[in-house]
Amino acid sequence: MDATLLRKAKGPDEAAQALNKRMRDNLVAIGKNRDEKAFSDFYNHFAGRVKSFLIGKGLVEAVADELSQEIMLTVWRRAESYNPLKAAASTWLFTIARNRRIDYLRANARIEVDLDDEMLELDVDKEKTQEAQVDLSQQSAQLEQALLKLPQEQRQVMHLSFFRGQSHGAIAQWLDLPIGTVKSRIRLAMQSIRTDILSAENE
């Protein structure tokens, strides 16, 4: 890998890693000990960002404010179900926020994979072995690193599609690009992130 890139990525990456770890520890402390101080730290970092996400996805400010509070209340109440071996704290929060927004917009809840489904196919190598799961904090760090390595234009499209607008068409309009370009940037970004993570796993 390009040495300059690595050096450039190192600073923010370490800070981000420390932040990820602190937020994970906060969630675990809330789940185990109803730790109010941990909640306060988690809230102060994420609540305004959750609200920003909801506004970016098209909800009016007052609704976004109310839903953000509900989402943070859900964090406080459901932190016990958070498994630090399975997901980063930010991933867990992101899925709660995304699903809450969907449920607000629709009459019915989002139907997802049922983990008790008899048809559930497990990847024995990756999902059943404990070793694969303990690596999660490692994997988060690699993912962070992979994201930082993306060319600015790909990173921007990824960020916009998670946090702004409803569709690739909207993002294309936003950036004044053809929709095909937006889609191919997403594809390239996902591919290079996957390649980075796989090569890190095989090292």
Binding site: H45, R49, S52, Q69, R77, T91, F94, Q166, H168, I186
Partner: protein, 215 residues
Amino acid sequence: MMRHLTDETLQDYACGVLNASMETLIACHLTVCPTCRQNALLADAIGGLSFNDEPAVEITATAADILALDKTAPINAPGALPTGVFQPGVPRPLARLLPTTLETLPWKSFGPGLKQYNLGTQPRKEGAFKLLSLDPGSRMSKHTHEHRELTYIISGSYSDEMGKFRAGDISDLSGEHNHRPHVDSDVPCISLIATDAPVKFEGLFGKIVQPFVGI
């Protein structure tokens, strides 16, 4: 080789911008496909990490307010899911929407050897959500999609310009594709199909059957 979801679709799924029909269909494939499930988790993780790039806007409540709210606010249980009829060979996300087994559904015929069962409630211009059961040897008319067409194969198989699709596979097509599937299994090919805009059939026969197929 199993046929998978495209990265754009997985990413849209993670962002929560697809319609409910597509989400349910994707959950069917994710149930049987650990590879796509891993990729979906990866997309969620990217979404989570992207929070750090997001500026925090001011929020009216403080952490203490939320803790106070906890004492008074009712427990908002996650929205209830339909129970449906769980059955072998049908992933639960779809089974939840079925009133009975696949064999005993009130299928509607739309041509010799062609049956459908409608699951969608949205207006036609927002796309379709339905089960199709096509007898061995059936051909669909050649058609193009305005936006996206997802197909999850429940049983049997079909082939089109893209290749062969078997039970558990997903066909993830967007506007630029033009395809003509034909059933090549000995048993009927039962599939779940979701679109976000009406499809365009080619040829006279296609135009005649379209009102009956309604996709």
